[in-house]
């Protein structure tokens, strides 16, 4: 394990200090927490957005704080959902009287911790609503199990819900737009190499020199298939097909596309992948409304990528296009 770190036990704390040093005018850390909020929080009468989860997915989630996106990000330990007390602090800090909206990724830990925080906040008289993002089609969606995971599609949900809130919508309206985004977003990822949590000191899995894994989770959860590394075009086809098996697009439907790097993938490779993704969508009569290529939801130094499609309607398009000042998603 080679990393630019000091004490592996304090990476999250050190990172957050460095983050605040870099953005002293726009971000603040609530004292004695791992909660980052916009510096001008709370915004009176605006529905406030809180997201969060384990650390190690940077720029998720603190990079998405800004006008038109999040008001706060709750940063858990490495790959570990933050605790209810931390989420509660975030909710209390950003509530501007119009209620707080939680964007939760569908992991047992996140769901439980955020739910408990919501209960505590409601007990204190704060209105709370939430959405649970479950875009990862690598996992079977079943009501008997935990269901699909939340991965890079979460960024689109931040954007949609954040734009809606910035436009002055009510908590209920924000929830309804966010749910529409969740219903229309699907992602599928793959990994070329694993990553190492600093305190664990060794990778969560290993792949042979010419092996890739399809469907790996953003915490190194095992995927659905291992096989020899394929060409970019074949990878694009496999990811897109898996997504399109799960969500129906009709001729002429428009989509926002995200080609997300897992942390160690050169931008060059993401663009090479995008070339084929774009072509495949065109072949299927799907029109690409906007494309986002970069590291949006990472897994430390994992090499690999995910592809996300968000099926758009008029409302989603205008919310996607609305201004955002978040450093990791400037629009």
């Amino acid at each position: 394990m080679k990393k630019i770190v000091n004490d592996p036990e304090s990476v999250v704390e050190d990172m957050l200090d460095g983050l605040i040093s870099a953005h002293p005018d726009s971000l603040q850390k609530l004292p004695d927490t791992t909660v980052i909020t916009r510096k001008d929080a709370p915004i009176t009468n605006k529905v406030s957005l809180v997201s969060g989860g384990g650390s190690g997915h940077e720029p998720a989630h603190a990079g998405y704080i800004g006008n038109g996106m999040l008001d706060a990000a709750v940063c858990g330990e490495m790959f570990t959902s933050p605790t209810p007390d931390q989420v509660l602090e975030a909710i209390k800090a950003v509530d501007g009287g119009a209620g707080v909206f939680l964007v939760i990724k569908n992991y047992t830990g996140d769901v439980m911790n955020f739910d408990m925080a919501a209960e505590l906040a409601e007990a204190e008289g704060i209105q709370v609503e939430k959405v649970v993002v479950n875009d990862d089609v690598a996992v079977e969606d079943s009501s008997f199990t935990t269901g699909r995971r939340g991965i890079a599609g979460t960024i689109f949900v931040h954007k949609i819900a954040g734009a809606k809130a910035a436009a002055g919508a009510s908590l209920e309206e924000v929830r309804s737009s966010a749910e529409k985004a969740v219903a229309n977003v699907r992602s599928m990822g793959m990994a070329l190499t694993p990553c190492t949590v600093p305190a664990a000191g060794r990778p969560s899995f290993t792949l042979d020199e010419n092996e890739m894994e399809i469907g790996t989770g953003i915490h190194g959860e095992p995927g659905i298939e291992r096989k020899p590394v394929a060409a970019a075009d074949a990878i694009a086809e496999e990811l897109i097909n898996k997504i399109l098996e799960d969500i129906e697009f009709n001729q002429g439907d428009e989509a926002a596309v995200m080609i997300n790097g897992m942390g160690a993938t050169p931008e060059m490779e993401l663009y090479i992948l995008n070339k084929k993704v774009n072509q495949l969508l065109k072949e299927r009569g799907i029109s690409t409304y906007k494309t986002f290529v970069g590291n949006y939801m990472t897994s430390l130094e994992m090499a690999g990528c995910s592809v996300t499609l968000l099926k758009l309607d008029k409302e989603l398009k205008s919310l996607l296009d609305a201004e955002s000042s978040a450093p990791a998603f400037r629009v």
Binding site: S81, T83, M116, V139, A200, G217
Partner: protein, 204 residues
Amino acid sequence: MELNAQDIITWMHKTNERLQNNKDYLTTLDQAIGDGDHGINMARGFKEVVNKLDNENYETASDALRDTAMTVMSKVGGASGPLYGTAFLKLATSLKGIDPVDESSFKTGLEEALAGVKQRGKSDQGEKTLIDVWIPVMELFDNNFSPEKLTDTAEKAMENTKDMKATKGRASYLGDRSIGHLDPGSVSSFYLFTSLADTVKGGE
């Protein structure tokens, strides 16, 4: 069996020792079918638990369990944090006003803890989670309890999770491929209950 505040503190110390010593092992188990943080989470949380318990004075077992719950809840994180936190909190609430804790009350406490865990986790027996250790352990009390049986029952229950297919928690993403691996949360629950057995036995 009787438990007072000091017994709870001893119990948590013994649990913490096992968690610290097996942090890496738990992490390895979680890397196989989860995300590899269970050992780190539990070790971090219980270090804080014993720290907390050592720095306060407790009149009753319930009070000590309450602080255990709050510390676990705010320091463990992940799925196991709220689940263990809920369990200890329900146990503490159920045992309020009962000191020392007798076997029958403890069983009721465990029942309520389990109900809380099931509700919080939307989970039940046979889904390859720590519930699969807590249920047989709970059934042992006020029946034919002995420290040896406690360790034995918890250990067997833990081992039984190996052949289960996970339908809840992170391991559920693996479907059938979760079979053949121990559930990390069941292993940490085994540490918890074998530490309780040690505590009841006394000594060390």
